[in-house]
Amino acid sequence: MIAHFVSQFPILVVVVPLLTMPLVVLAHRAFAAWALYLACTWAVFAMACALFARVATHGPIDYAVGGWAPPFGIELVIDSFNAVVLLLVAGMAAINSIYARASLAREIEPERLYLVYALMLACLAGLIGITVTGDAFNLFVFLEISSLSSYALIAMGPKRRALLSSFQYLIMGTVGGTFLLIGVGLAYMMTGTLNMADLATRLPAVFDTRTCQAALAFIVVGLSLKAALFPAHIWLPNAYTYAPSSVTAFIAATSTKVAVYALIRFVFTVFGASYAFEQLPLNQVLLGLSAIAMIAASLAAIFQTDVKRLLAWSSVAQMGYIVTGFALASTAGLSASLVHIVNHGLIKGALFMAVGAMAWRTRTTSINDLAGLGRTMPFTSAAFVVGGLSLIGVPATAGFISKWALLSAILAAGHYLIAALVLIASLLAVIYVGKVVEALYFRPRDAEASNHDAGEAPLAMQIATWALIALNVAIGLHASPELTATGRAAHALIGGGA
């Protein structure tokens, strides 16, 4: 019975949040809804840990939904690559559940709180579904579940502009989802199958057809939109700025990462790196776009006056690093991508949580209004500083590990110009992080602003923020477990075996 229960974990990580969602709606009261949300996310995180450990020792896990054997039924596949992403998404949800209660209670009227928790669970189920599925169409369905719930979540932000930015995201996200569907449809037309492993064996026979090329193009463009890869990033700054703080912290740490994961999965597992990067010039395109993203978005971040928007632009730049990594098409590059998917999730999660904690106290995220907070909120400000150092890539932080892995991969591939651009973008990060730190510590508190009751954010919010900061430092000091996992994942993906 226990063995049977454990063998159901691949579907349970999706089903548990999906079924807790209606329970949250039935519970209705804010506290009960939050308690269910907390219990569910931690249960999912525990199962994700178990799956991760099992994949590391026993190899990939397959699960046939409904007992229908693949390729006819929907198959879930957890290998060493998506196990890492699964762990990131589940972990961020679990830590966010500690943070969410106080943060959401301040930004959303009490009678709508249960809806936010229900939507967060739907979003979590969708993101985990994308991560674990081995079926191309199923991936689209989960992408829509996570997207639709994030549109609604962003629209619930405290300012009226939230509605507009959610609508902007809805348009772009729907275009992205449709492109993915068209691409999957074209691939299905040529092969008659939707199972990723089956597609991978049947697609090479039709590689020369226009249909197959168009399929790859549609899938890449569609997922780039969801991943906010330059120039399809337009929706991201507004969406991150106006969403409720806790939602931003969760979505920024997981949503675009999962979209990049899906892109990597399609390029490496379904179509194969040699087709995308040798027969078609996808790597040139991706390298060029991500180079622009790194520089242009970092420059844009410098000129922002709102911390959340500044961090959002920085996210666009960081997506550039991630895409650069796997566009190198080398094991080292792919591994660097995965390292940065995880580390950037931890960094941005921590930073957005710190900003959310400041917003809890000051009810604003404008840099000028946060001036002098270093004195009244010492712990939150210190968390922001450490997170910022990690974002820049200072040694002894997680950011350094990703930058190091990425730079060595780029230099090994001989792209010296890109390496220089990565370094320049890091210097630009010093400027935009420094701008916030300068306001926090070296500017006096505005007399009018200090009329607010001075003090720290609630303890739960600080604990969640510092938990992520501690993870950043822990990875920075002892990176070998993470690098082993990502290295193994990259080998598995490039070496042909799933």
């Binding site: 079924l19 329970l23 007992g67």
Partner: protein, 144 residues
């Protein structure tokens, strides 16, 4: 709408058959075209017609928004609960084979239950969307 006698009479005549047809599409879905989604929409259209002819207030009295919130959740739980039941019976998620003494009956029952869950949720959400749109601009709009 009070003066449109023809509309009122026709609506009164037509609403029960619409509901019966919804049930037919619902429970005949595994043998003929149809199923939970279509049945849910047809069923909801009967309520929406009622709301259009006799007023949203009357429709809200017949089916309160709070009830919709509960049925919409229950529908999802019926669907997912079937999957959980198959797991507890020793199969994979939504493996209907294990629901009855032989796989054919198992698949039949499983599909019937799951489609019922879909129908309930779709009908509830459709009516809820109608209430939200019809209630725009009203102040006492509370629970939808």
């Amino acid at each position: 709408m009070r003066e449109h006698t023809v509309l009122r009479v026709v609506a009164q005549l037509i609403i029960p058959p619409i509901l019966i047809f919804a049930l037919y599409v619902q429970f005949h879905g595994d043998y003929s075209p149809g199923g939970g989604f279509q049945a849910g929409v047809i069923g909801a259209s009967a309520i929406i017609l009622y709301g259009l002819i006799f007023g949203v207030e009357a429709a809200r009295r017949a089916i309160p928004p709070t009830a919709l919130r509960i049925t919409a959740s229950l529908g999802v739980l019926i669907y997912g609960g079937t999957g959980v039941a198959t797991m507890l019976a020793g199969g994979n998620f939504l493996d209907y084979d294990v629901l009855a003494h032989d796989p054919i009956h198992g698949q039949h029952y499983g599909l019937l239950i799951v489609e019922f869950g879909v129908g309930v949720t779709v009908a509830s959400i459709m009516i809820a969307i109608f209430y939200v749109f019809a209630g725009r601009g009203r102040v006492e709009d509370r629970d939808t």
